[in-house]
């Protein structure tokens, strides 16, 4: 579904992705973690070419991203993306946030698009907010709308870039529930997150990155119990220490 082969990326002199080789299979839930600045966000952003790659090959859903003839907009329509900062359109109501892309790109009739949007809104538990504006919603609600917006294009892959990092602690749970539900439905997902509970519960595989390199790739039970790489051990210790205080 997603195949990275020898992918490199530089921001000027900074080598942000260094020889990435990774294969995501259909229906797989992959969690990417690592310290900040490790390149994990850049990695996920290359998958729908929000960041173009400099070297290597990247094939997403059968489309080759290093080929100039590939229609990037078509690829992006097949890949949903959820951002840390939600990025809902503040000038559009919730329902219009969700239906914009299906109406403009898939030429779905407005009525049908709205019906589908209502199904999605019900799924994320926000059916009653259809006419609200994004800034009237809490962070957790906004992120759930953002997920519904991503799903509205019926994507084959969903990408999540730290979807809970900008949320107040009491709102993280509601967003994770929606994501877990999605994972169980068989969606192919790549999730950059520090939510280790989520990783443990629904991820099929965890990838640990640092300095633009994939240092470890393992099923969650192995990764959490027996991290091989020293930096991964250190990273997990730092994540888990504050929790032990409770």
């Amino acid at each position: 579904m997603i195949i990275f082969k020898g992918v490199h990326k530089w921001f000027k002199a900074l080598h942000v992705l260094n020889d990435i080789n990774l294969h995501v299979t259909p229906g797989e839930v992959l969690v990417v973690c690592g310290p900040s600045g490790s390149g994990k966000s850049t990695l996920i952003r290359t998958i729908n070419q929000l960041e173009p790659i400099n070297e290597g090959s990247l094939i997403v859903d059968g489309m080759d991203l290093s080929d100039k003839k590939t229609d990037i907009n078509k690829l992006r329509a097949e890949v949903g993306f959820v951002f840390q900062q939600f990025n809902l359109y503040p000038h559009l109501s919730v329902i219009n946030n969700i239906t914009l892309a299906p109406i403009k790109i898939r030429n779905t009739p407005k009525k049908e698009a709205e019906e589908q949007a209502m199904v999605l809104l019900t799924r994320v538990g926000l059916a009653e907010k259809r006419d609200a504006y994004p800034l009237q919603l809490s962070g957790g609600q906004q992120q759930r709308v953002a997920i519904a917006r991503g799903l509205a294009m019926k994507p084959r892959i969903m990408l999540f870039d730290e979807p809970t990092s900008a949320l107040d602690p009491e709102m993280i749970g509601e967003v994770l529930e929606v994501m877990k539900d999605l994972a169980r439905s068989g969606m192919t997902m790549v999730v950059v997150t520090h939510e280790m509970g989520f990783a443990r519960e629904v991820a099929h595989r965890v990838v640990f990155m640092d300095y633009g390199v994939i240092l470890e790739e393992a099923p969650p039970e192995d990764f959490f119990l027996r991290p091989r790489h020293e930096r991964a051990q250190q990273f997990l210790r730092q994540l888990l220490t504050p929790m032990q205080g409770h």
Partner: protein, 232 residues
């Protein structure tokens, strides 16, 4: 003893101040001032939008001419642009009514400034909006049209208002090429009556103020109406 402030010069010529010789002759006075301002306002908005979008184009062949034009116009006094249009256009295209040359001059001049406001407005929209919209598969013109511009234009309203208030006042320069807008009408009446310059020019100052103030008030109302962030 001479009256200190003779209001009769205003009341006697009131219709002339307001609409010139209209409907028996061409529109003049406040009517023409408003016509010049509104027409230039609409044209310069369109012109500014086009220039602004061209000046942030990905293609250098489009971007550089647009930037060159903007900088050229911004480096000229408005009066110069008015003269240019007044003498150049008829030489190129034959007879063109003075009103139109003035509207064109005001529009060109104001579009250059408007384009910078529009670019700043576009730049002011967070990058995440573009990313979110492109990531759903919208083409770049669709992102601009459905997502960026509606937000940017709303944020630009205060700057637009500044520009249009300047525009209303700038129409007074049209008197130099004989267009009978408010200032021109005032000088005519002043030349004819000779004795009341204070009354006449105080009166048109008040008129200009009322026009500008009305516009500012209207825009404030519009800004509140279009607000989505205050809906909370």
């Amino acid at each position: 003893m001479e009256q200190l402030f003779n209001i009769s010069v205003i009341t006697d010529n009131f219709t002339y101040f307001m609409i010139g010789r209209f409907p028996h002759g061409p529109l003049g006075g406040v009517g023409l001032t408003l016509y010049l301002a509104v027409a230039s306002c609409i044209l310069s908005f369109i012109g500014g939008l086009i220039l602004g979008l061209l000046s942030v184009s990905r293609f250098p062949a489009v971007r550089y001419p647009a930037l060159a034009f903007i900088n050229l116009v911004r480096g000229m006094p408005l009066l110069m642009v008015i003269f240019w249009m007044y003498f150049l256009l008829p030489a190129l295209f034959g007879k063109i009514p003075e009103n139109n040359t003035v509207i064109l001059a005001l529009s060109l001049f104001t579009s250059a400034y408007m384009s910078r406001i529009i670019v700043a407005g576009i730049d002011g929209i967070p990058k995440g909006q573009t990313e979110a919209a492109t990531s759903t598969g919208l083409k770049s013109w669709q992102v601009m049209y459905y997502i960026i511009l509606p937000q940017a234009l709303r944020n630009m309203i205060p700057s637009f208002v500044n520009q249009f208030v300047s525009l209303i006042k700038d129409t007074s320069l049209a008197f130099i090429v004989g267009v009978s807008e408010l200032t021109h009408v005032a000088t005519q009446i002043n030349n004819r009556t000779m004795a009341f310059p204070t009354e006449i020019f105080a009166f048109i100052a008040i008129i200009y103020f009322i026009l500008c103030f009305a516009f500012t008030t209207l825009s404030r109302w519009l800004e509140q109406r279009l607000s989505w962030s205050k809906a909370i």
